[in-house]
């Protein structure tokens, strides 16, 4: 917690510094620095850094054009998310449809966010160009060397190489991840649902209403709260089992394969790796048909009398074994099938790590007369855990968001028998992500999906924080350098 505190303090100190420099520059800068406030390249042109000046001014023109021609259409409507409803009429002469200049709430929201991000970046560039111009002025006054364009290029391949490297990837991340996530957060505060679908209808801000309806359970069964708690519960159970079964399964499998007793270990490993090579949508869709109610496994079970036996034991009430169609059965099957696809992968990782297992430790354990289990318990596992703890945490988060396995195995196959969950369009086997996917794809309930998405984030964030603070102490980064 102390770390977090100092990080926050450091953050604000940095911001204070940033603006402090800016105001100093304005106060003490010469005319060129002050002109930089208006024309971003001015200060640089004065010091003969023409390329930089042109680039910055061009950027400024770009931002202005963007604001005038693009942002101005959307940002002013951000407060209401649009007021003009679509109207249309067929032109009888051309047989073309003619529309009024209607508002599209979703695009208003998306492009407003886009504009805000552009402006934020522009503001940073603007402030930095002013402080940069002032620094140049100081350099010139002190008679220090002023970078030529060539020097600048040199800098960006040298000390500032990280800027060169990070620019494109960060732009990609901002456009394709940051803005969409911001949008999702904002949608949670609107009434964007099937009744308010752009372009034919508008949606608008509703404050915290959606969060309230998630947690309210005022005697009504048709609330999301009921389904939410159950889906969340299964999500956590699933993430726990999916992570640890494949993790330990992978270690055991790799120990088994790497044992001295194993003949032809490469052959076995290759056979197991084939299961990774088949794309998941093929292997999972296949397995789902394999275990379907009228599928081949059921036929075989019925033939050997297993189905009848289970029926007589009262374990099933149907004429087939509901591998993927009844709660309990489906939960167990999903975890088993996940072991099937996950273990070979973890086996590969464990094999690699165990190759690095310090041989002297194993040797001394053997000398001390430790049996296999003790070696595993006191040497192999602690080593593995120490090395892989961070990946365990990220695997857990990945499993919370593991869309593919659940969706491919249960979509269109599993029908819930819990009426209350069905009333909220949820199923017992749904993870939060598959539930929200279903809400957006089939019910266009974007507002509730967004709320659930934020909840997923909170669950993951809490888990990650706790795990990193309690399980993995210290920062290992420096150790290997």
């Amino acid at each position: 917690m102390k770390n977090a505190g100092s990080a926050v303090a450091g953050f604000f100190a940095a911001i204070g510094h940033f603006f402090g420099d800016f105001f100093t520059a304005i106060a003490k800068g010469d005319w060129a620095v002050k002109l930089t406030l208006l024309i971003w390249g001015a200060g640089y042109a004065r010091r003969k850094q023409y390329v930089k000046a042109i680039v910055l001014t061009a950027l400024e023109v770009g931002v202005i054009c963007f604001s005038v021609f693009f942002a101005s259409q959307y940002v002013p409507k951000f407060g209401t998310l649009g007021t003009v409803v679509m109207e249309q009429q067929l032109n009888m002469q051309t047989l073309k449809m003619e529309f009024n200049d209607y508002d599209h709430s979703f695009l208003i929201l998306l492009f407003s966010l886009f504009s805000f991000v552009v402006w934020l970046i522009a503001a940073v560039v603007w402030i930095r160009s002013v402080t940069g111009a002032y620094r140049l002025q100081l350099d010139a006054e002190a008679g220090r060397h002023i970078n030529t364009f060539k020097d600048d290029v040199h800098d960006y391949l040298g000390d500032k190489f990280y800027v060169t490297l990070l620019t494109l990837p960060i732009i990609g991340i901002v456009v394709f991840t940051v803005i969409p996530i911001l949008l999702l957060i904002f949608v949670a505060f609107t009434n964007y649902d099937q009744q308010h679908m752009p372009p034919s209808a508008l949606f608008t801000w509703v404050g915290f209403t959606n969060f309230k309806s998630l947690f309210s359970s005022g005697g009504m069964t048709v609330t999301f709260g009921y389904a939410f708690v159950r889906v969340l519960g299964w999500t956590l159970v699933w993430a726990f089992f999916a992570t640890f079964t494949t993790y330990f399964g992978g270690i055991l499998m790799s120990l088994l394969l790497n044992s001295k007793k194993t003949r032809a270990p490469r052959l076995w490993r290759t056979l197991l790796v084939i299961t990774i090579a088949v794309p998941q949508f093929v292997s999972l869709l296949l397995v789902r048909n394999f275990f379907s109610n009228g599928g081949i496994v059921n036929t075989i079970c019925a033939r050997i009398g297993l189905t009848g036996w289970l029926r007589s034991m009262g374990l099933i009430s149907t004429s087939y074994i509901p591998f993927l169609t009844a709660p309990g059965w489906a939960h167990v099957m999903i975890i088993l099938i996940n072991i099937w696809i996950g273990v070979p992968y973890q086996m590969l990782i464990a094999t690699g790590i165990l190759m690095n297992l310090p041989a002297d430790q194993l040797e001394s354990a053997r000398v001390d007369g430790a049996n296999k289990f003790q070696t595993f318990r006191y040497i192999t596992m602690p080593y593995m855990l120490q090395v892989t703890a961070p990946t365990l945490v990220t695997d857990f988060v990945k499993n919370i968001n593991n869309f593919n396995v659940i969706y491919l195995l249960t979509d269109g196959v599993y029908t819930t028998t819990n009426q209350l969950m069905a009333n909220s369009q949820a199923k017992e086997v749904d993870l939060l992500v598959t539930w929200l996917f279903n809400l957006t794809q089939n019910y266009y309930n974007y507002k509730m999906a967004a709320v659930i998405g934020i909840m997923v984030f909170i669950v993951c964030a809490v888990f990650t924080l706790v795990a990193f603070n309690f399980l993995i102490r210290g920062d290992k980064e420096g150790v290997y350098q």
């Binding site: 456009v175 292997s283 048909n289 081949i296």
Partner: protein, 281 residues
């Protein structure tokens, strides 16, 4: 004593064999089904009642549903470009975060961790509309962007690997007057073959595996534009599964074979890369 030992070895290998059989049953079933002479799924016997390779032939004769050749080429094209961009981005970010010394490094890494916690499926609709604004839906460029633009976020394993590259080597180079760009290109990249192979394979595979984004972005219903995943997924549509299940199996096999070969060739690097990265990542 010796008998016991041999018995131990036999039972040990038998156990492995049993496990391998369990793991391979569905795959064997897939192969068997693909050689079935019937177009639909066989639910009464494990092996097809009649064997035939005719659906492999049919897979390559396009009809209104099945355009496998086109799908394969599309996916291949997308995969190549995705692979190039992803690999570059990942290496760039990993190098900057591992070797770079700048104030914003830690905060940026924390932000990256946070961004990874949001469910990707929900951001899909925003990504879709962003692409539509630039008229990039129903285009392979759009899909390439979707798969690769955010790839910088997956830098962690690669950074873990870079952290193990001896710093002394870089220092020496720096003293010789090398700038960062040359250190990156001439020292770090050549010593990082395993992690590069790992990154290349995993990014090359993304377009073959994903169907959610592809289905959303290729929404004009033009079958020739699909990727393999979307096309094969649609074959299992309720109205088609009976006439296309076997073809689906053939397609599944044909997609898996190149991936499997890729895996076997690169297996060593793959294991080295991911473990080295995971250990320190």
């Amino acid at each position: 004593m010796k008998d016991k030992k041999i018995g131990g070895i036999v039972s040990h290998n038998l156990l492995i064999a049993v496990l391998c059989v369990i793991w391979l049953i569905p795959i064997v079933w897939l192969v068997c089904m693909s050689f079935s002479a019937a177009p639909n799924m066989n639910t009464s016997t494990f092996f097809p009642t009649e064997w035939s390779a005719k659906y492999y032939v049919q897979l390559f004769h396009s009809d209104t549903v099945n355009q496998f050749k086109a799908w394969f080429m599309n996916t291949f094209k997308i995969a190549i470009f995705t692979c190039i961009i992803c690999t570059c981005f990942t290496l760039m970010v990993a190098y900057a975060t591992s070797f770079g010394k700048f104030k914003a490094r830690k905060p940026l890494m924390n932000v990256a961790v946070m961004l990874n916690l949001f469910p990707g499926v929900l951001t899909m609709i925003a990504v879709y509309f962003t692409l539509r604004t630039f008229n990039l839906t129903n285009s392979h460029i759009g899909l390439i962007l979707v798969y690769s633009a955010s790839s910088g976020l997956g830098y962690l394993i690669c950074k873990g690997f870079f952290d193990t590259v001896p710093r002394a080597l870089c220092e020496a180079a720096r003293l010789d007057g090398c700038n960062e760009a040359r250190i990156f290109a001439q020292i770090v990249i050549p010593t990082s073959r395993p992690i590069i192979v790992y990154t290349i394979i995993s990014s090359f595979l993304t377009p073959w595996m994903d169907f959610v984004f592809a289905k959303m972005i290729l929404n004009a219903g033009i079958s020739e534009n699909y990727t393999v995943a979307v096309g094969l997924y649609k074959m299992l549509d309720k109205s088609l599964i009976n006439s296309y299940f076997t073809i689906f199996c053939c397609g599944g096999i044909l997609v898996s074979v190149p991936i499997a070969i890729l895996f076997f060739i690169m297996q060593k690097f793959y294991v080295e890369g991911i473990t080295a990265g995971a250990v320190k990542g």
